[in-house]
Subunit: 143 residues, 2 copies
């Protein structure tokens, strides 16, 4: 059981964004912080701005920042937005090739289990998982 | 978020096994019931016998059958046995390439969410998801 790699990257970006506080940041700073491919970061930042988790401000004082307070953004909502395929097994997909799809009784326990999974993530906000900016070199440690 | 394809196949085989009741069945019957590749079915049956979910009886009266009553086998245990990688994101794997792995606070919510997922599946047994043998052509409908 895995989350998509793009969900993983999205969480890293949200952690970075929250750790920046009110400070604007750029795609290049994320690329540098995590040593991730620029194209991946661009794609995921785009998904996060579309999902209204990040705001991309244009212009000279522009840059990226969280769309809301970190404490108001649920981890579960970010995961829901990024995981485009939540079909745990074939019978949960419209194009199922399984011979018993229409009768299968496994869908209901799996749907319930998936809901329990997301319910736990809804209890956590991005503020709960943000890190000390010092770890990213965003702020230097106090002397 | 997906389960492995082999977990999906394992669930189909367990459903088939339970629907057979005390009747022995063969790999070829599973292949025919689901139109799955023989090599896949063999691999997964092997994993299920190793996990003591199925018993493979040799000899003339041989064949496969459930290792226990269907009601005694938890869906969660089959999923746990089949999902060899439960590392939802990179930082949950030993070979993580994420720059913040050692500090990351996302591991704990994800671990908790995964536990909630499996806890729901532990509430269901294979008996809960078995099907009417008629659907598999194992038994003909009563006249």
């Amino acid at each position: 059981m895995r989350l998509n790699d793009t969900t993983d990257v999205a969480m890293r970006i949200m952690i970075y964004a929250a750790s920046n506080g009110a400070r604007r940041f750029t795609i290049d700073q994320i690329v540098a912080a995590y040593a991730l491919p620029r194209s991946t970061v661009m794609k995921v930042v785009n998904a996060l701005t579309q999902g209204k988790f990040l705001v991309a401000q244009r212009g000279r004082a522009g840059g990226l920042h969280l769309a809301q307070q970190a404490a108001a953004i649920k981890v579960g909502d970010v995961v829901r937005h990024m995981e485009t395929d939540f079909s745990l097994v074939a019978c949960m997909r419209p194009s199922s090739d399984c011979a018993i799809s229409q009768f299968c009784k496994l869908k209901s326990p799996l749907t319930e289990a998936r809901a329990a999974f997301l319910a736990v993530l809804d209890e956590y906000s991005i503020a709960d998982i943000m890190l000390d900016p010092v770890l990213f070199g965003i702020r230097t440690p106090a002397a």
